[in-house]
């Protein structure tokens, strides 16, 4: 990105070389220093070795998209630059060690010696911190702020040695900077200093807590595990019951058992794990037991690319479970949305007694954003359950389709819940009329649900001709695309509610002369849904399915291509 208000750093190395620490440390240094930071990683499915990268965008204004061309690259491991060959621009500054790998054909390479840096840093363990120090020097970060942050970051883990390593890197960076007269400095702001750092996982987790979640059962699976780990860490403080289930089938059945008692249960999973939960989703549908499902997408089919990103599971969520029943599918695109939407998911699950999906992906969950604090109104979650009387009927037929939900042990009635077709009392029935009336009752909730219209945001010129449609984690990259295009012709429509498709979306499409659908999957799943529900014609699609998030530059280029073409 050639943008004077921003610098971007990319670190390439193997798992185990401390890229995560570089990221966290720099994230907090930048905040202390009053600069916005967005960081994102792409990693291999292994614990040690391989080649991973961490990207940091440091800027005067919040940034949130993945980019193809970082301004500065630090490569620690052989093969790193070869792997990055498509991501090096003429202007890219590349720190590389000729002992380890050759300089790339493009970009301006600067030689460093890992051996010397390691020695100066005080050993292999500290090389990563030295690199962080070096980066800080290049960006003219206040040395003391860097030192203090390092000391506090490593407070339990050799703080002095780490500070010394930071210093050594900072010194090297400062002298190189002087020698080459580079200039990457940015102006700090108070607003950035008062912002908060969130990963997508943390935002989903915090939103769940705000939504009153008190039970979670799940089975580990990347990239969904971050939410589980975050919540396990909050269990004592918030009085949560966190259970690692033996499999995903158990997890969702446990979550339903929890809701049945009046607790608020959740599962977090990814495509393959969610595939196993399908029968449970159908169970939620027929028993009208609320449920919140966090579905963290990664590339399939099968095991696919476990640690990478894709938006390929919308159809799976949309049609999950056998038979017809209503559901709600939400897909946040920012940490603010992740918090608010997850919170809302619990409210609507309880209100309509349906499964509610939160669709995220590896890109959203594993990235970190320095953002303004989240608007939180301190409203405790509303409960929709009732206390039963002796004549209580779990499946009372109502106009809205919602039957008052009572809890076992509270009140004098009995809460009889059945996965077979049932009558109003929850008893198995084979009466054709009763069957029809219960189907219709359940489906009426879907009609009611369409009243909960939200989750639609237009960005860009109101007089757009081109409408870029996106959902979920493409929020930040799509908005940035509009900023960069700056053509007064293109706007972006972001959906954070995917299903039911918000009806008021139709009017946005009417105005558009050209509809461009942006999705991180092969078939354009959401675009197909829009076609089906709104009978719109999608003119162009920008699709990607290689496991990486969209780079902002790529979207810009493709839109320019499209608009040039016709």
């Amino acid at each position: 990105m050639n943008n004077s208000k921003e610098t971007s750093l990319l670190f390439s190395g193997e798992a185990g070389q401390g890229l995560n620490s570089i990221e966290s440390l720099l994230d907090s240094i930048m905040r202390e220093n009053g600069l916005y930071v967005f960081s994102s990683k792409e990693i291999m499915s292994r614990i040690r070795g391989g080649l991973n990268t961490t990207l940091l965008r440091i800027a005067e204004e919040p940034k949130g998209g993945f980019i193809r061309y970082p301004e500065i690259i630090f490569s620690l491991q052989a093969g790193g630059l070869e792997r990055l060959r498509d991501r090096i621009a003429e202007s890219t500054l590349i720190f590389h060690d000729p002992q380890i790998e050759e300089a790339p054909k493009t970009g301006s390479a600067v030689e460093i010696s890992q051996k010397e840096m390691t020695e100066a840093a005080g050993g292999k363990l500290f090389l990563n911190v030295a690199l962080a120090g070096m980066a800080c020097a290049l960006l003219e970060i206040d040395r003391q702020i860097g030192m203090d942050a390092t000391a506090s970051f490593f407070q339990d883990k050799k703080p002095e040695e780490n500070c010394q390593a930071f210093q050594s890197g900072f010194d090297l960076g400062a002298s190189l900077k002087k020698e080459h007269s580079w200039s990457y400095s940015l102006s700090p702001s108070k607003a950035a200093r008062e912002s908060r750092l969130f990963s997508g996982s943390e935002a989903v987790g915090a939103g769940a807590l705000a939504g009153g979640m008190n039970f979670i059962a799940s089975y580990p699976m990347s990239p969904s595990t971050g939410v589980l780990t975050y919540l396990a860490g909050k269990a004592d403080e918030f009085g949560l019951l966190v259970e690692q289930a033996e499999d995903e089938i158990s997890a969702i059945n446990m979550a339903l058992g929890a809701w049945y008692t009046g607790a608020r249960g959740m599962v977090t999973t990814s495509g393959g794990g969610f595939a196993l939960m399908q029968e449970g989703v159908s169970l939620a549908g027929v028993t009208e037991t609320p449920c919140v499902i966090h579905l963290a997408q990664r590339p399939g089919p099968g095991t696919g690319l476990p640690t990478r990103t894709e938006q390929g599971d919308l159809n799976l969520a949309l049609y999950s479970g056998h038979g017809d029943f209503p559901r709600l599918i939400l897909a946040p695109g920012s940490v603010h949305q992740a918090f608010q939407i997850t919170r809302k998911a619990f409210d609507l699950a309880d209100k309509y007694q349906i499964p509610v999906f939160i669709l995220t992906d590896q890109f959203l969950l594993d990235s970190h954003w320095l953002e303004r604090p989240i608007d939180y109104d301190r409203q405790p979650p509303r409960s929709y359950t009732i206390v039963s009387d002796t004549d209580y009927q779990r499946y009372q037929v109502t106009d809205s389709g919602v039957s008052p939900r009572a809890l076992p042990g509270e009140g004098r009635g009995f809460v009889r819940v059945d996965s077979d077709e049932h009558d109003v009392r929850g008893e198995i029935t084979e009466e054709f009329e009763v069957r029809s009336s219960q189907v219709e009752k359940r489906m009426r909730k879907g009609r009611e649900l369409t009243k909960e219209q939200d989750g639609l945001e237009l960005y860009g010129s109101e007089d757009y001709k081109n409408l870029l449609v996106c959902w979920g984690s493409n929020y930040c990259p799509a908005r940035e695309t509009i900023d960069l295009l700056n053509d007064q012709e293109t706007a972006c429509l972001h959906f954070s509610q995917l299903y039911p498709v918000p009806e008021r979306a139709a009017k946005y499409f009417q105005q558009a002369e050209r509809i461009i659908n942006l999705e991180n999957n092969f078939t354009g799943q959401f675009g197909s849904l829009l076609k089906q529900k709104l009978m719109i014609h999608i003119d162009e699609q920008i699709l990607q399915y290689n496991g990486l998030p969209f780079a902002v530059e790529d979207i810009v280029d493709q839109i320019r291509d499209i608009t040039k073409r016709n």
Binding site: L240, E246, G257, Y260, A263, G280, P381, L407, V417, D420
Partner: protein, 282 residues
């Protein structure tokens, strides 16, 4: 102490074949519940799908009649979220040991304070007589035309190998013993497995009431605190012992869970403190 309090206030047509052992189990269950002093309003039964699983429909209580094979995770979560409820997971042998086998083995390890009543007719009843995990070798069925060929699943030995604290087997034909054992199970603080043998008059022509009479016996002079003795008895297949094989208190799931360390408030009643959220996000 009347078992009537679990009887529904209206006539119900129990969808079992005349002569089915499930009718006896129904009586046994209501009686043991009454004897154990349980109130219908505090009782939840979680069941799967099958003839056995229909039981919940005929009892005055709360129920969650879920999916085939999934009675245990639902029951575990109910007990975990509301420890004030008495929770039973009740289903057939196919449901519990076949489709639900993974939950069975891991629930034993988890040790929630629930009673697991498994109607063991050694066959799949509702789907019309295919072999079940507990079907005896050689029995011919609609699918196993040359006789069922797999090693029969031994639920008791498996549960013991996995560290279960209460392991019992009864038979619907011996009502008094069955009632006593289930009553004991209801009082046991932890996961209690009660495998209930019963005749399926329609599809199992091998393991009939007569067969049970001839091929079972009541455990006597047995020390239910000895794991070795229990395992020895569990591995006996010549004639099947009936009674409590093993009984030993163990830390339950809720006891182990940190969720109940600081407060005994049921999880289902816990509300979030907005102040804490504020700290998290702003």
């Amino acid at each position: 102490m009347s078992s009537d309090k679990f009887t529904l206030p209206y006539e119900v047509d129990r969808a079992w074949c005349p002569g089915c052992g499930n009718f006896s189990i129904h009586k046994i269950l209501q009686e043991s519940l009454a004897k154990a002093g349980i109130e219908p309003e505090k009782l939840v039964i979680s069941s799967g799908i099958g003839q056995a699983a229909k039981m919940v429909q005929y009892i005055k209580c709360h129920y969650f009649n879920g999916l085939h094979g999934r009675s245990l995770p639902v029951a575990t979560a109910i007990k975990a979220c509301n420890p004030e409820l008495t929770v039973i997971a009740e289903s057939g042998d196919g449901c519990t040991y076949g489709e639900g086998g993974n939950h069975f083995i891991h629930t034993v390890r988890r040790n929630p304070a629930i009673v697991n009543i498994v109607h063991n007719n050694m066959v799949y009843g509702l789907t019309k007589g295919q072999g079940a995990p507990t079907t005896m070798k050689g029995m011919r069925t609609s699918l196993q035309l040359h006789g069922y060929a797999l090693e029969p699943f031994n639920p008791l030995a498996t549960a013991l190998a996995l560290g279960a604290g209460f392991v019992a087997r009864v038979c619907s034909n011996f009502r008094q013993q069955a009632t006593e054992v289930i009553q004991e199970a209801l009082n046991y603080p932890g996961y209690a497995l009660v495998d209930v043998l019963h005749p399926c008059v329609t599809f199992n022509k091998l393991n009939t009431a007569k067969w049970y009479k001839e091929n079972t016996y009541t455990l006597e002079n047995h020390d239910p605190s000895s794991l070795e003795a229990a395992m020895d008895k569990a591995l006996e297949t010549d004639r099947l012992p009936l009674g409590i094989f093993y009984q030993q208190n163990k830390e339950t799931f809720n006891e182990r869970s940190h969720a109940y360390e600081q407060t005994r408030t049921p999880v289902c009643q816990r509300k979030v403190d907005p102040e804490k959220i504020t700290q998290l996000v702003s």
